[in-house]
Symmetry: C2
Subunit: 382 residues, 2 copies
């Protein structure tokens, strides 16, 4: 038989493409190419993966044939052979658990149903947003990880850490907030300024008359919180000039502080008619309003969803809450980090999720998550 034009197995072709109107998808393997060219599969591999040890001539020959035959690598075989394993660290606060628990669950799930990859996850926790983070990080840094998923709090504190770890070859992925202008490989968060904007629009729907509104925030030094405020203020200014925004209140995530602030502001005669609580820590504020008998009278938009919020939304005492989709955030963060680690996606991967607007009418679709925080949520959450 002639060297070219070999008798490639003609029967086997049958297994591919059931035929018909669908183009492409012919799918040839590495050995189909080898056979067609009468070279060894080793050579084909070298050519395709741009390895050393192939003459330019054969390389281009192989590449062309690969194209022609529609080569598609068998990912399963590839994964099996190079049984790579990655180590990924997750450094997140323990508090507030109704946010970070599902976030961690999302990471875990994404890691789990990622086949062909031996991923070792390791979780590091610290008490809350500003406290203990440094210690958690230094604990983590004693070992080497291929990537770390973390929440960038105060920018000044985290910038140097990110830089240092990145230099050491660790891929840094932000979740919950972002740290722009650093070496992080990407970030996943709910779109903060749009969250603020939505809150403003919803409150404005219910306040057609002149009125005051106020924002209860957490840490304005966290980019995320600052942006929410900005979005709220901007939307108010543009869409609802009849509403006046009072100076924002910053609780630094301390419940007592939040309660005190809410009390002193709202007990006055001309209290604001609209309230946006842009931190997940809305309970103290709500409690103050409750005690003042203002629930149901004031238009309230909160952040996140948790057990105690459910009845308040159900009864219409809270107009809406903006759900930041922690589970999805975790899932996407992991998937993108993995994509970066494997395929080296070069583009800056900044994902800003659309927050879900939870009202009385669609609460039932979400309330299960608030009840059982550690459960594996269905896709309808994504």
């Amino acid at each position: 038989m002639r060297p070219h034009e070999t008798i490639k197995p003609q029967k086997r072709k049958i297994r591919r493409g059931i035929g018909g109107m669908d183009l492409g998808a012919k799918s040839a393997g590495i050995k189909d190419i080898a056979k067609a060219l009468n070279v060894s599969i080793g050579t084909v591999d070298r050519a395709i993966h741009d390895r050393t040890g192939v003459s330019e001539r054969t390389k281009s020959k192989v590449l062309k044939m690969a194209e022609q035959l529609g080569y598609k690598p068998n990912l399963a075989a590839q994964a099996l052979k190079l049984n790579r394993q990655l180590s990924i660290a997750v450094v997140l606060p323990k508090h507030i658990s109704h946010f970070f628990d599902p976030l961690r669950a999302g990471i875990r799930d994404a890691a789990a149903d990622n086949m062909g990859m031996q991923v070792s996850l390791e979780f590091f926790e610290y008490p809350r947003l500003g406290v203990g983070d440094v210690k958690a990080f230094s604990g983590m840094m004693e070992r080497h990880f291929d990537g770390v998923i973390f929440l960038p709090g105060d920018a000044r504190k985290f910038d140097s850490v990110i830089r240092k770890l990145s230099k050491a070859g660790t891929a840094m992925m932000c979740v919950g907030s972002d740290a722009p202008n650093t070496d992080r490989v990407g970030s996943v968060s709910a779109h903060a300024s749009i969250s603020g904007a939505i809150a403003a629009e919803l409150i404005a729907h219910k306040l057609p008359q002149k009125a005051n509104v106020v924002v209860f925030s957490g840490e304005l030094s966290t980019l995320d919180h600052a942006e929410k405020l900005r979005g709220f203020a901007a939307t108010l200014a543009v869409q609802s000039p009849h509403l006046t925004l009072l100076p924002a209140l910053e609780s630094h995530e301390r419940p007592k502080e939040a309660y005190r602030q809410a009390m002193s502001l709202m007990e006055k005669g001309n209290h604001p008619q609209g309230v946006y609580v842009s931190t997940a820590n809305s309970l103290p504020v709500l409690q103050a309003l409750e005690e003042l008998g203002l629930l149901g009278k004031v238009q309230i938009v909160t952040t996140d969803l948790f057990q105690d919020l459910v009845p308040l939304i159900e009864s219409g005492k809270v107009l809406a809450t903006l759900y930041q989709r922690p589970y999805t955030q975790g899932k996407v963060a992991f998937e993108n980090l993995l994509a970066y680690l494997l395929k080296g996606s070069r583009q800056e991967m900044v994902v800003r999720l659309a927050p879900h607007i939870i009202l009385r009418s669609n609460l039932s679709l979400f309330s299960s998550r608030a009840t059982r925080p550690d459960e594996d949520p269905d896709e309808d959450l994504s």
Copy 2:
């Protein structure tokens, strides 16, 4: 060297588990179990997969050891070995493309980034919701598919088809709507009655006074549309008794009809103050309102997102639109169908996605999809 007890490489154990505070996840393979029990890997395989040819005794022994060692199958190897290939047909209308194109894209993407599985997708199209579907189906049924993704329109028409194909061993997955009480293996859709409920709540926010409201629907024989109406009516009755719901209008997805209906209803003096268009075909209705000078005066909630809607939302002429997340629907439908086909998930997989509420303030997060309908959307759409 002896046949048993070969000089297995002892160093390799090091690759597993980088150690530390994280429980579980040790990851043992099938041959680890075999080794620990001094049986062959064949036996282990039989036990684990509940195959014939193992004594109860060894089977339970193996199962226990698997548990103890934390057996986790190597999915890559599994996929490689049983190089199964599935054929999946997708039967969907061509119209309305701003809904079905991204839906198809979601299916394609889900199929693409599913590794280790040779999936052949085949698309069948028919003109629109009630027309040509029968022909498309019979064309498809000339060949055998392992699964088909389709939109169940009129229940009576589809029931028998679903039954017939199911009996023939084809897994039927509904998308866009559901067909309960049939043999379908699952469904993915936006939660219809909650869509209606949201529309009612949003309109009520803006209509604190006594007023009439109306629903423009498509095909009330399609479950999806009927449920939207039901949700709307129920929420209105419970939450906003001051609003009166006029009899619903059914356009049968004919633009002319919808326009005519809108015109004749709205030109009257005491026209409704709130309008919910529960079909994606909202343009004719909007055009009628525009011509009557009612845009901006009447509270309108629409369905889906497309190019022409963007400026209307931006300018506040449309209060909100309920985005049914076609891309995510397609993606999830495919993933669930695949899971069923592979793992034989036994539970009825009915996924009801939470529709995204698109307002003026968060429109920018979605409008890209309306502009370039065939593009691969980011995760922020999910």
